[in-house]
Structures are given as C-alpha cells and as structure tokens.
C-alpha cells in the first residue's frame, strides 16, 4: 500500500483536476509526469495557483460546468438577441460529461409577445446535438434562472472540446435580456467564436431549427450570456 512521491503526485494531480476514473485511465504515467512538471503550482510547489482549478472551485454545485465563472456574470442586459435567430455561446465540455440540460438566467428586460423559446446544443463543427422542448408563451421572469431540458437526454460527450449552447427567442416585440458579462466583438469573434448570432433567420420553433449552423457566418457580439450545463 505504499506509494512513491511520484505516484502520489500523479494521482493527486488527476483527482484535484476532477477526472473520473475512466478519464484518468486515458493518461500514461509519463503523460502525467509531464503535466505535473509543467504545472508546478498545481502540486503546491510555490508557483502560481493552478489556472485549471479556479473556475470549477466556484461553480454551482448542481452544474457540470459553466461557460465562465459565475463570479464575473454581473451584467443584466446582455444577449443582443434577435427574434427568430440563434444566439450561440461557446462552452468547453469534456469527455464523459452527461448533459441533461442547458441553463440561462434572464436579465432585467422581459420579452414582449413571446411565442417560442428554446435552447440547443451544437458541436464544434456546428452540427446540432440536441434541442430542448419549446417554452412557447411561457415567459421567464426577470433575473430568474431557467432550465432547458434537452429532449431525449442526457447526451454523453464523446470528445473533449469546444461546443456551443444556443438560445433562441421568438416574439412580436422587444427582445429579452440575459445575465452575462460584457466583452468586445473584436476579441470574442476570434476563432473559436465565443458569442454571436447565427445567420439563420425567421426560426419559429425547435422543429424549424436547422440541423447545423455555419460557424463561419456567426456575427460576433460584445456580450456573453452566462450558460450553465447540468
């Protein structure tokens, strides 16, 4: 039962990163030794704190992940939503994650004349993975979290990487706002785009949602709605 210091460091590194046993098993000893070596802060060696730990340490307990830390989601007027268009947010998901639902928090502006509202999940190539049910006229109150359960979920993520969560609102009047943070399109639009509106217009309900979106034609936006995955 005795472990060498090198063994302990490798095992500690895996668990502190939050890998499942199956995820951890994908690493070789030499892979891990290199990662531990290249992240001296992660083993309490007096370096800077490990950047890979910051966000997960503060995420909501119910969440699998979030698109950025909720600590910095302080703007109640984000979204730049357009009725009938897909608003996409980049979210990094890892292998093995069972995605049941996407969560958006509404801001202070309520939608007017809402007829449809749904969310969807897309892969790094813009192919649709799943859509939620349609909320139809069920308006989300201001500053309130709304869970969009994916139809036929949970979806198990096969490959770690950037995915996209999307929010589509349809109505006759003013568009709602979402809780988020504000950046600038000049940098959010650098590949991979992390927030923007898809080119498809006039969408009406989940059935009208395209099976794929062209990520190259997304119009980048300044504001990044806060997205949680459960």
């Amino acid at each position: 039962m005795s472990l060498s210091i090198a063994d302990l460091r490798r095992a500690w590194y895996l668990q502190v990163l939050g890998f499942s046993v199956a995820q951890g098993a994908k690493f070789s000893n030499s892979d891990l030794a290199y990662q531990v070596y290249s992240n001296p802060g992660a083993i309490g060696g007096g370096g800077a704190q490990p950047p890979t730990l910051v966000q997960s340490n503060y995420k909501a307990a119910a969440d699998l992940t979030e698109n950025y830390s909720r600590v910095l989601a302080g703007t109640l007027t984000t979204g730049n939503l357009i009725s009938g268009r897909i608003s996409l947010q980049g979210i990094y998901l890892t292998s093995g994650m069972p995605v049941t639902s996407l969560v958006y928090v509404n801001g202070t502006t309520l939608g007017v004349g809402q007829t449809n509202l749904w969310a969807a999940l897309w892969d790094i190539n813009g192919n649709r993975v799943a859509v939620s049910q349609d909320e139809t006229t069920n308006i989300v109150p201001s500053v309130t979290e709304k869970v969009y359960t994916l139809v036929n979920g949970p979806y198990s993520i096969a490959t770690s990487g950037m995915y996209y969560s999307s929010y589509t609102w349809v109505g006759t009047g003013a568009v709602p706002t979402l809780l988020g943070t504000t950046s600038r399109d000049v940098v959010t639009g650098l590949a991979p785009i992390i927030t923007g509106n898809g080119a498809n217009t006039g969408l009406t309900n989940p059935a009208s949602s395209p099976l794929s979106v062209n990520l190259a034609t997304i119009t980048p936006q300044n504001a990044i709605p806060y997205v949680q995955v459960r």
Binding site: M1, L3, D7, L8, R10, A11, W12, L14, Q15, L17, G18, F19, S20, V21, A22, Q23, G24, A25, F27, S28, N29, L32, S38, P40, G47, A48, P51, T52, L53, V54, Q55, S56, K59, L64, T65, E66, N67, Y68, L72, Y92, L93, T94, G96, M97, S160, M162, T181, T182, S183, R184, D185, V186, V187, T188, L190, A191, P192, I194, A223, I224
Partner: protein, 219 residues
C-alpha cells in the same frame, strides 16, 4: 508489475480518506471507482479553454474585457502589464487591442517585452504615425523574435504611445488598491519622455498603478 494509473487513483483515494489497511480491504475496486467518480467535476474548467486559437496566452480571459474608456495612456511612458508565461512558449508577437478613445498627433507607438525582473528582452518595430482605429487589434512583432521562454513566471509587456492624445486600451476595469499588490497588474514606467523603441530603458521602474488592465495576447 508497476501500478496502473487506476491503481494509483484507488490507493491515493484510500489514503485521502485515512482508511486502515483492514478498512480499505473491505472496499471493492468498483466501490472505490464509484466513490472517486462521484467527486469528479467532469469539466477541465480552465479559462485557457476559451482563448483564441492562434493565441499562445492571454493576460486574462477575453470574456471579461468590455471596458473601452479607462486606463488612458500618457505620452512617453511605458504602460506595463504582467503576463504569466510558461517554459517552452515561443513568443513572436504581442497583441494589444485599442479602446474607443483614439490617439491624436501620434509620432510613435511600440511594445516591449520584459523578464520578471523588469529587464528588457525585446522591443517591437515602431508603428510611428500608424494609429490604431477604435476597438481594433494591433500586432506588435518583436524584433529578433521568436523568443522562447526558458523559465515559467510572470513576465511583463509594455506599450508606449507618443503623441498628444490619451488613447485607451480595451481593458478590464479593476482597482489600483489591489492592482498595486506585487506582482503589479498595471503600472506605468517611472521613466518619462520615451520616444522610439531605441529609447526603451533596459530596466523599467514601476510607478503610478492604475485601475484598468489592458487585454493582451501573445502569439
């Protein structure tokens, strides 16, 4: 035969719980795996997962840098920001993004790269009167680059504007009360009256910590 990673994870978990050998032997490998998995986060929740593809490192996540009107630059002083870089990174250029306040009567604009002890490693070309439009990236290629980082640590990037306006960077608006804590997150050079890259001091002395931290990338 050497332990596999899975063996190591199980043993480490047992040690974390402080179980005796007798207690541990009552747990099956399946029990242990289920317990370890129940603590897994699944995500590797690193801000670096969201950085631009062509960027080696950012000084902060690009998601948070929506401020365009603070942190105005004074002519002839370096504006200094730290960047955490790791050994092996090959740095060709520094990328700075402008805010909404434009320079005026610009005569020089350049960037410089400094070691953690604030000694100069390299300077960029001089942009001279080539002003940066509002909220636009500008790539400053380092003369003699790329520079390969030998030692992981907090390096510094400096940007020097010379002219009569006070241009602003795209930034995160923090507060000098915490920015001033070492390592300083946003200061000016104590040296004034700088003009061209050739005038860049060999060692910068920091002065006058500010609130707004410019968004910087290295490529």
């Amino acid at each position: 035969m050497a332990d596999t990673i899975v063996d190591l994870e199980r043993k480490y978990y047992i040690q974390q719980l402080g179980l005796s050998a007798g207690q541990a032997s009552a747990l099956t490998p399946q029990d242990l795996d289920a317990q370890i998995d129940s603590r897994a986060y699944y995500a590797i929740p690193s801000a670096s997962n969201y950085k631009p593809n062509n960027t080696i490192a950012e000084n902060m996540p690009r998601s948070y840098i929506g401020n365009t009107s603070n942190g105005a630059y004074l002519s002839g002083r370096l504006q200094m920001y730290p960047m955490y870089l790791t050994a092996g990174m090959s740095i060709t250029s520094i990328v700075w993004t402008s805010g909404t306040t434009l320079a005026s009567a610009q005569t020089n604009l350049w960037a410089a790269f400094f070691a953690p002890d604030l000694t100069k490693i390299a300077v960029s070309q001089d942009e001279l009167t080539n002003m940066v439009p509002a909220t636009t990236e500008r790539v400053f290629n380092l003369v003699g680059g790329p520079y390969v980082i030998a030692t992981t640590g907090m390096y510094y990037v400096g940007v020097c504007f010379v002219g009569t306006g006070t241009p602003t960077p795209l930034s995160f608006l923090g507060n000098a009360v915490v920015n001033v804590l070492p390592p300083n997150l946003n200061a000016q050079s104590n040296q004034t009256g700088l003009t061209t890259p050739a005038s860049c001091p060999n060692t910068v002395v920091l002065f006058n910590t500010g609130n707004a931290i410019a968004y910087l990338q290295v490529r």
